[in-house]
């Protein structure tokens, strides 16, 4: 597409925020000869400036644009949008933040600031030069949308899809509406007001001729990616059917199951809510006093107490309305706030349902016919008598649902629910998470929410199909791709990635190359940097680009200056906000933004030192707050790798550091920046002897090409709280020692380093 990169650099005066503080003419002169075009604009972000950029692009055929102005986090999108009609796509435009990171943060002279700006811009230019832009690719969605799993969310989704005129295949275990409703009661007890309505909907959907229904079937295997799935569906006779589908919606509901023996559950008198629902169904209103115990706090899942209370309240209301003489008590932990509206409270008083809170400090105990609890008023243990004790259910994804979820590739780790990935990123980065999983298996919710999720999924899938038919559906630009010639099928990436975007292209098995579903990938890139064989590449934002950027900056650094890689969720905004708060810090720190510190390959870190940087600091989010897949933890592991290698080579381990910044605490960021630059200034540069260079070269090659170390690095990630260790690694120390051992074995000692005493430079040289 663009064989020759032609870079245009546009420097912004930004009113009086940049111009008087930085010597822009000097800056332009130093950039001019290296770029294909360079200009100073008054306000590139406003219409007049934008028109100037567009005219410069068409006159000089520019295909890489760098705007040196302010925060790319909020401005970049405007440039991308404006330049898209000119074939300058996402990834081909970049911004360097002169205003927040250079102009105002120190009291250096305008000339010095111009020097710093020049370094940052040149680094961005190198990045752009290394960019291999991909073509804008259309996503094709051929074939029907398939709905699998037995969740109730399948029906509203199917309904919406049929209404939108989208072909739809529904795979169900049973097609009997009665059975469907009775299983619905098991998953969503007490939602009496919805049952008839849902039954009507189920009958409507099942009776619809446009829908293809596969009765008595379950999903056996799924292969492929969005737009081209092949499902293997097994019917009751064990026959396998192959079905093509463009997209999949999984409708899965969590299982409600009884708690452990300490609650005295017997299924007859002490029972859980769904069992009570079944009893009401079969035997009518229970005769005798009923106590609903909201026992979720005792299960250690207080988050679900609200849901259980709603079900209990709804069932209590139903019983009381049918038989006024029945005594009903709803018994709850004092910690809980009751999820009742004022009208509901009024109704509850009118019906005579009593709500009894108990002291959280004393756990109620179940006895035959009684339950003992500590009263809040007098702290005396009281008793409530019951004929039926109804407990909250425990909730988790289990049984057939779990199997289906695993076959769909949703489960990578043992979690109670399928919250999907926890990535907290901008909506355009999430491919289609919302569109493929509905129901309480995702996270416990009530029936209304599940039905809504179903409708939403149906609508969104229909929208995507429509877009694809109009040829307007595009594959996101920043996604990972696998080079099948390099991939050995170790599956490391699949294990790391929790956006669920990585799978195998054929039947699951050993050693098959992985493939990425571009419509699901969030572009976090931690997986790409962790690939032991460099087979995964993050398109339009590759490791090569970052390496080029870091290398160029490192070469240009003067003594005492350091490179900093800051993530756009933590370090970078913290630096931006330091500007808004008019804070100043040591200008020796040169900040390069990255989407996530997890994207930084260890070879990029090593490259900084190889090219002369005396120090490198990675500034990411707070641990636990990584917006992608544990990127910060991987970065931690990689930083430690470099530290270990530095120890091995006799360099100071403190030259590389990982820092955490909260975007709302710029003062802390300033402390971090100042402390690290001060440390590096005290340490001085790494002496540029041949031996040192050779050592750094060895480190770099080990980080980049050594498959064993890279495998260890990605496989051995330990989160601080984890307690199990593989093989004969008993604890954290044993694991670390083993890692060190491996490094010592793999590290290729350069010969020059072995003859370090020979400082004349004429000794044996490592080539």
């Amino acid at each position: 597409m663009h064989l020759n990169a032609k870079t245009g650099v546009f420097i912004c005066k930004c009113g009086d925020c940049i111009e008087p503080l930085i010597d822009l003419n000097g800056l332009k002169n130093s950039i001019k000869d290296h770029a294909d075009y360079c200009d100073i604009l008054t306000q590139p972000c406003l219409t007049p400036g934008m028109e100037q950029i567009i005219s410069a692009i068409s006159q000089h055929n520019l295909n890489r644009i760098i705007v040196a102005g302010c925060d790319g986090r909020i401005m970049l999108k405007k440039f991308e949008k404006a330049l898209e009609p000119l074939d300058i796509l996402k990834g081909q435009v970049d911004m360097v933040n002169l205003r927040s990171h250079v102009a105002a943060v120190s009291d250096a002279s305008p000339e010095q600031k111009a020097k710093k700006s020049e370094k940052l811009i040149k680094a961005a230019m190198a990045d752009m030069k290394a960019l291999v832009p991909t073509e804008l690719e259309r996503a094709k969605l051929d074939g029907p949308v398939a709905i699998v799993g037995n969740g109730i969310g399948a029906f509203p989704a199917a309904q919406k899809l049929i209404t939108a005129g989208v072909e739809c295949v529904l795979s169900l275990e049973t097609c009997d509406p009665k059975k469907i409703i009775s299983s619905l009661k098991r998953s969503y007890p007490g939602e009496r007001q919805h049952y008839d309505r849902v039954k009507q909907m189920v009958e409507d959907v099942l009776g619809n001729e446009k829908l293809t229904i596969m009765a008595d079937s379950r999903l056996k295997k799924l292969i492929g990616v969005t737009g081209d799935y092949t499902m293997v569906i097994e019917d009751s006779q064990g026959n396998e059917n192959f079905i093509k589908a463009s997209m999949i919606i999984a409708a899965l509901d969590a299982k409600l199951y009884p708690p452990g023996p300490e609650f005295g559950h017997d299924g007859q008198t002490v029972l859980i809510q769904p069992e009570m629902e079944a009893q009401i169904d079969q035997m009518g209103i229970p005769k005798g006093d009923v106590v609903f115990w909201i026992s979720d706090y005792e299960y250690g899942t207080p988050d679900f107490a609200g849901l259980s209370t709603k079900s209990a309240w709804s069932m209590a209301k139903h019983i009381k309305e049918a038989s006024a003489s029945t005594q009903i008590i709803i018994f709850y932990n004092q910690m809980m706030t009751l999820p009742l509206s004022a009208t509901e409270r009024g109704l509850s008083r009118k019906l005579g349902i009593s709500w009894v809170p108990y002291d959280k400090a004393v756990r109620p105990t179940v006895q035959d016919g009684y339950i003992t609890f500590c009263h809040l008023k007098d702290h005396v243990e009281h008793e409530i008598s019951w004929d039926f004790l109804v407990l909250s259910p425990r909730r988790a994804i289990r049984g057939q649902e779990q199997i289906t979820a695993r076959r769909l590739g949703f489960i990578h780790k043992e979690t109670p629910f399928l919250t999907g990935h926890h990535a907290k990123v901008r909506p355009e980065m999430i491919g289609r998470e919302e569109t493929y999983i509905v129901g309480s298996a995702r996270y416990p919710c009530d029936l209304q929410e599940t039905l809504n999720q179903g409708r939403k999924a149906g609508n969104k899938n229909a929208e995507m199909v429509e877009k694809s038919n109009k040829l307007q559906l595009f594959i996101p630009r920043n996604v990972c791709v696998v080079d099948p010639t390099k991939c050995v099928g170790c599956g490391q990436c699949q294990e790391l990635c929790d956006c669920g975007g990585i799978g195998v292209s054929e039947y699951p098995g050993g050693g098959l190359p992985r493939m990425v579903d571009p419509m699901v990938c969030t572009g976090g890139g931690t997986c790409a940097a962790a690939c032991p064989y460099n087979a995964l590449v993050l398109q339009n934002n590759s490791t090569d680009q970052r390496e080029a950027r870091v290398a160029t900056l490192s070469k240009l650094l003067e003594p005492g200056e350091v490179v900093s890689l800051a993530c756009v969720w933590g370090g970078l905004p913290a630096a931006d906000h330091a500007y808004s708060k008019k804070l100043t810090y040591d200008p020796a720190i040169h900040i390069l933004g990255v989407p996530c510190v997890g994207q930084i390959d260890p070879s990029v870190m090593a490259r900084a030192f190889l090219d002369g940087a005396p120090g490198l600091i990675l500034i990411g989010c707070d641990p636990e707050e990584c917006h992608h897949s544990f990127g910060i933890d991987h970065a931690w592991n990689r930083v430690n790798l470099i530290k270990k290698l530095f120890s091995l080579c006799g360099f100071d381990r403190r030259r590389i550091a990982l820092a955490h910044a909260d975007l709302n605490k710029p003062e802390e960021f300033v402390k971090t920046a100042n402390a690290f630059t001060a440390l590096i200034k005290a340490l001085g540069p790494i002496e540029k002897t041949q031996a040192n260079q050779d050592k750094l070269k060895s480190i770099y090659h080990l980080c980049k090409d050594n498959n064993r170390i890279r495998t260890l690095l990605s496989a051995a990630l330990r989160r601080p709280g984890e307690k199990t260790y593989r093989g004969d690694q008993k604890h954290a120390l044993a694991f670390d020692k083993d890692f060190n051992q491996a490094l010592e074995e793999e590290y290729d000692y350069p010969e020059s380093a072995l003859f370090e005493e020979d400082t004349s430079g004429k000794g044996v040289l490592y080539v």
Binding site: T47, F417, K424
Partner: protein, 221 residues
């Protein structure tokens, strides 16, 4: 692409201001050239003429809510005050940015802002620059920094693509915060609102907007 190039060749002449579609008018008696689609504010900035603004940011569409960028527009015998950030350029008009009329309205606005967000240093500095040092209006909340310009809500919607911040209530109760004033999971915590805030009010509000993740990561591992 070729089609576009065609358009561009017409639209973008070498000195970037095309002879045919140029709109000529005057700002402070100085001849300026603009093009269709520009606003008065954009033209003024291009020519280095300073107009104070608060709710204007290039990343989002202008709404003209703070009224600080008011300028006097004279056309024939008519004179009126317009918000320069949303007023499109027109041939033959004359704009004055520093007349007594403009100064008067600016000072009123600044005085009102001093009363509504007295804790903001930025507002105080700006007011001082325009000679406003005290306010005649009653101060309701001496710690208020937010001027409810709505930039945070707009950036969340237009740039990030979410609606994690809303302008809540109306009239004197109007405020900015998460929907229903509860930390929300919609917020991804990108901090765009904090960056764009013209005062640093959002820094405090931000922590009441971003929610904690549904499941802490330590539980997922």
């Amino acid at each position: 692409m070729r089609y576009l190039q065609g358009i561009l060749q017409i639209r973008c002449c070498p000195d970037h201001i095309r002879e045919i579609a140029v709109i000529e008018f005057k700002i402070n008696d100085k001849e300026v050239k603009a093009r269709e689609g520009w606003t008065i504010l954009e033209t003024a900035k291009e020519y280095g003429i300073d107009i104070p603004t608060l709710c204007h940011h290039p990343a989002v569409a202008p709404t003209g809510s703070c009224r600080l960028c008011m300028v006097e527009l004279r056309e024939g015998d008519w004179s009126k005050l317009v918000a320069s950030c949303i007023y499109p350029v027109k041939k033959g008009i004359t704009i004055y940015t520093e007349t007594p009329k403009v100064h008067n309205v600016r000072r009123w606005i600044l005085e009102m802002l001093l009363a509504s967000c007295p804790a903001s240093e930025e507002i105080r500095e700006l007011a001082q620059k325009h000679g406003v040092i005290s306010t005649r209006f009653s101060v309701h909340d001496p710690n208020q920094k937010c001027l409810i310009c709505g930039l945070c809500q707009r950036v969340c919607e237009e740039v990030v693509g979410l609606s994690a911040i809303a302008v809540l209530d109306r009239g004197v109760h109007k405020k900015v915060g998460a929907p229903f004033l509860r930390p929300t999971d919609i917020c991804v915590g990108c901090g765009s609102c904090v960056t764009i805030c013209p005062t640093d009010a959002m820094q405090e509000i931000f922590d009441t907007v971003r929610g904690k993740p549904e499941l802490p990561l330590s539980q997922l591992a």
